[in-house]
Symmetry: C2
């Protein structure tokens, strides 16, 4: 009896995480247990209406497989360039779904439940606050260093959305007015340095600038991954080590800037590049401490997120749903 | 019958603004009318207990002069380096009052009313929200460009205090890691460029770098004021004009960064340097637009505060008191 509305049925929400490659959906109960889960290709279906049809099919199949009786109180969705206020994805450059994607309206119509969206970095923040390292914190900032750089900012226990729903774009603060060209069209955005793509660019710059032997010289730009750079750094490769030093120095400077705005309790790093752990963390903390305003010295933690399960995104999306529909 | 607690007495709060030079106190009614006002030298009395004695004398004298019956519901205080949570001034470098000044405890004991403090830039923000250009706004940032650079940040209708009460130090975000030495000990803080002191330093740098005639070459560093630089720029003096261009370019870049964090509706500029109006505003807006993340284009106002009365500080402090004791 899935989808039952009986009072005795387990209360759940649905969490949905639309990534550049995969979309994950899950049914989560009040205790944070994932009682149903599935995923499918985000880009397999174009245009957008086909994605919605596929979502509906997957949702129904997932619900059928859940054995206990449950009811869904609402849906939380994380998606790139999602605007909390409008319910739309706005200019999602990596999706071929148009300039303005009416995500909330489409999900509500297709699945029949009240829905809310925010971007993936905000989901990460909510997940950390509900289930992760930010438990009990009211002021913290999460950063995802993946292909791009996402950020989710929590002030006094609430996500910062700004007046238009689009706050939290720390990836586009300026490192150098004449710096690297960013996908957004600006020059020198933080994301062009502190991300998997950013460190690849740094490695290539260092290979161009320096006459030092490096195992990374064997790889094309296309083939080089963040993991390869991390592995090379662990083996002492001088280009890879310098690339992490440089990345951490820039990231630490910008974290010190963020501290001056928000004075948060912690900065939590996630995403592919954060998996490098101390390779990234040590130069970042060193640089942050060097640039930190004296009133904040010794007060701020920089940590790597302890999460990394396939459920992270849907749990964060569920946290959004619980906040509003629970 | 001042200080009467009768129900028929006008309900008021006291606002107090401790500046580097002067301390202003005022009694303000619910309509924002200042029914009593006085000021005295902040630094005339040392150590701190003498300041408190002088405050008590001035407070009593001010209250005696008010003709209508009134009662005081609480006191709001603005002071440099004030910590909202602890009630202390923390390391107020320009005051000879010690490292930790127990301001709230002292004011409450001396005057007998519940008190709250925050820094002067936060007062400015509250004043703008209650009586000024930010009326009806829930997300905006104020900046005071005076001797230093203060900032007050409002997110979703509330001041951002951070986890320790010390958020909103935009003056200490980094412009250039190898830049000008700041009073705080860091290098390249925004305050060393975008403030009255900052533009003076820029004028002196330009006079050193360039071989251009300028009326400003007649003045010593001690004698040169922000007003002189503004007047020279209005007369077309090339050094003064370039100094405003340079200041605006740096300020605009950092405003674009702040937009990426907060996506506010407006940035409001105040303080001595903001009196230069378009001289500062035009290059600032131009530079901001150049660096603004595309999602924010056309959405953000940068304005010069319309206030500038001697009551500004006490009105902001009164707004703080009304929020909590009203």
């Amino acid at each position: 009896m899935p989808l039952s509305k009986k009072k005795t049925a387990t209360e759940t929400v649905m969490g949905m995480d639309i990534g550049g490659t995969k979309t994950k959906i899950g049914i989560i109960n009040r205790e944070g247990k994932v009682i149903g889960f599935d995923s499918f290709s985000s880009l397999g279906e174009k245009p957008f209406p086909n994605f919605v049809k596929q979502l509906k099919r997957k949702f129904k199949a997932m619900c059928k497989e859940i054995e206990e009786e449950f009811q869904i109180l609402g849906i939380g969705v994380g998606a790139p360039n999602a605007n909390y206020y409008s319910g739309n994805m706005e200019n999602p450059v990596n999706f071929d779904w148009g300039d303005t994607v009416p995500l909330v309206a489409s999900v509500e119509k297709a699945l029949g439940y009240k829905s809310l969206i925010t971007n993936d970095a905000n989901l990460f923040a909510l997940g950390e606050m509900e289930y992760g390292m930010a438990k009990g914190m009211k002021n913290f900032i999460v950063m995802t260093l993946g292909t791009g750089f996402g950020s989710g900012i929590v002030v006094d226990g609430k996500l910062v959305f700004g007046h238009d729903g689009m706050a939290g774009e720390m990836g586009h603060v300026n490192v150098n007015p004449n710096g690297r060209l960013c996908n957004c069209g600006l020059k020198g955005c933080l994301e062009t340095y502190a991300s998997v793509t950013g460190i690849k660019r740094t490695v290539f710059k260092l290979m161009a600038d320096l006459q030092i032997a490096s195992s990374l010289r064997e790889y094309s730009y296309q083939d080089l991954t963040g993991l390869m750079i991390a592995e090379a750094a662990l083996e002492g490769d001088p280009i890879a080590c310098r690339a992490f030093e440089y990345t951490g120095e820039i990231l630490g400077t910008k974290i010190a800037d963020a501290a001056a705005y928000f004075s948060p309790e912690a900065f939590i790093l996630g995403g592919g590049l954060a998996k490098a752990g101390d390779l990234l963390l040590k130069p970042t903390v060193k640089s942050m401490n060097k640039r930190l305003f004296k009133a904040y010295k010794g007060k701020m933690k920089v940590v790597i997120s302890g999460t990394g399960s396939k459920y992270d995104g849907v749990l964060g999306a569920a946290a959004l749903a619980w906040q509003h529909f629970g």
